[in-house]
Subunit: 351 residues, 2 copies
């Protein structure tokens, strides 16, 4: 069961309190390059990114935000470090969320100014703590532990709460999965705010995908996390695809079809790897959130494929097409993919 | 903390009771093709597969096992369905583990014969239940639930226990991650046997990798699982690589270096994606289990890279090389990878 949290709105997109878990990413263009950043925001939105974060390192980047917000098909989040003027400019430009740690932007007056402007525009703020940014005082007291990360977040949260600002999202990141899980578990017992989850500096595309999936699987399967970002050293569109795949894999939210398929083994009598890859390719843009099974094993295949919306299973050059557990037809192996795609289109026509 | 389980031995490789979590896979060659199967077993062992399972669908496959066992660099597991004679032949051939469900091979006499032969050779047996193979009686009673899967396993376990056979490994697989987690949690409260974990029919290479990582992350982070197999519709060597990456990502077991790297963002001022990919490629066969950080962000980079064995971080054409938190040198961006590789080799020479 998902942890119960408060809800905040990022433009028209809710986070927390049972809302669908959102997938986000961050542009890696120079924010001041409006054309390139707009193009990337559009590519991210097309891939299913619920809202997009952009770095705001200076005034020129903050100035670019008005145009980016105006043309973006999804809400935008401004990523601010240290400088409250950049936060104020971003709010004026109409961003829908800030990422800002109040303990890092100077005096209480500066924080008060930002909070007032955010409240007027109903803009939530994410506090983002990671194990590399914990203060030396907290490190000295708690060591390099999950508690140190949580206490660091609680310090920032206390600054906002004192100013009656509660539209807070919190992220707690560590490069270590175990510590990240422990930190979010501890935080969920202390405060009611929705959380942004991710494994920071997860790594290269292949290893980072695996590390993010393992870490987010650990968190999400415990009901932790209201919005997620997969961090990869790769095109951010890939982050969005992986994010959706993790949610699909866990049965939490689905975009398009999910494919299940047998591992090939010594019993496999058809070209399963080729068939599965062709099915995934031909139906990758299919709009319905259905489950499609591609099975090559007479031992486990039929049993598992029963529960899929559509399925194929085969052996020795012939195959069967299933739909909701019913055999539709028997076809030669060479026509199996065509037959499956035809049935998928039948399903689409009916709905 | 890992769940406490009994220990069994697969040849010289322990499973359970705190032993390192093993990575396994299964050949997808025709077992009767001895040359092809030997070649694949060797490739799997070279990739770090702790033991290899082979399908034994008929007597000819069982006959091939003697030669396969003799030449294999790692223990072998015979995968048997329905036929107790194939189990007996496999044991005679010297396999180190069986995968066999006693409720599916016929009379109690047949089970007794297999158990006796396994006991004589100290060979453990894995009971493998998946949601597609649960009996209709259990489905009628418990529905399509985790409990139905667990009760199915307990029926098979009871057959072995009645014959005083306890060298049991259990796997409980469902295509649904949530149900798989619930089933292993329930089983761990009922019996002390070590478990083989995996997400069955996980799917195509990309989606299956993500689904396996998310599901195994959920299980392993709860201390569940003593040996794992990643199922992919792909070359089984890829299953082994993904298995190791999952264990590395969770900090449970490491083979070679782990790379952490920043997502690129609007603040990145070096070609981080290119540098990270080059580092991963040049150090992929590096033998020490160290952590290498490739960071491009002046905000989070230095803090995170502190804890890595080796790290590089950069901006505006120049970079720093770190070792255990100490800056070693400042080099031009173009020499950053060479400098890192040189330091890795220094580390290797010292150990």
């Amino acid at each position: 069961m998902r942890q119960s949290t408060r809800q905040v709105m990022v433009g028209n997109v809710p986070i927390g309190a049972g809302a669908p878990i959102t997938v986000q990413s961050m542009t890696n263009t120079d924010t001041r390059d409006i054309a390139a950043t707009r193009e990337q925001i559009e590519a991210l939105a097309a891939a299913g990114c619920d809202f997009v974060r952009v770095a705001v390192p200076d005034q020129k980047a903050a100035q670019a935000l008005s145009s980016l917000v105006e043309h973006s098909p999804v809400p935008l989040v401004a990523d601010i470090h240290f400088n409250h003027r950049l936060a104020l400019r971003s709010l004026e430009a109409g961003v829908h969320k800030l990422r800002l740690n109040p303990g890092n932007i100077g005096s209480e007056d500066k924080v008060r100014e930002v909070v007032k402007a955010a409240q007027e525009r109903k803009v939530p703020i994410r506090i983002g703590v990671n194990s590399g940014s914990v203060s030396s005082a907290l490190l000295a007291r708690y060591g390099r532990t999950a508690t140190a990360i949580v206490e660091s977040a609680l310090e920032h949260i206390a600054i906002f709460e004192k100013l009656n600002f509660f539209d807070i999202v919190v992220s707690l990141k560590s490069t270590e999965v175990e510590m990240t899980v422990a930190a979010y578990e501890e935080l969920s017992k202390r405060v009611p705010y929705p959380t942004h989850i991710g494994i920071t500096e997860a790594g290269t595309k292949w290893f980072g995908t695996i590390k993010s999936a393992a870490g987010l699987g650990a968190l999400l399967s415990r009901g932790l996390g209201d919005t997620l970002r997969v961090s990869l050293t790769a095109d951010p569109v890939e982050e969005v695809k992986v994010g959706w795949a993790i949610l699909s894999a866990l049965g939490l939210r689905q975009r398009g079809p999910v494919f299940i398929s047998c591992p090939t083994c010594g019993r496999t009598e058809i070209d399963l790897e080729g068939i599965a890859a062709e099915v995934e390719k031909r139906l990758s843009d299919f709009p319905l959130p259905i489950t499609i099974a591609v099975m090559g094993c007479v031992v486990n295949g039929p049993g598992e494929a029963r529960y899929a919306d559509l399925g194929i299973t085969g052996g020795k050059g012939v195959g069967l097409v299933f739909r909701h557990g019913q055999i539709l037809r028997k076809v030669p192996e060479t026509e199996l993919v065509d037959a499956l795609v035809a049935e998928a289109n039948n399903l689409l026509a009916e709905r």
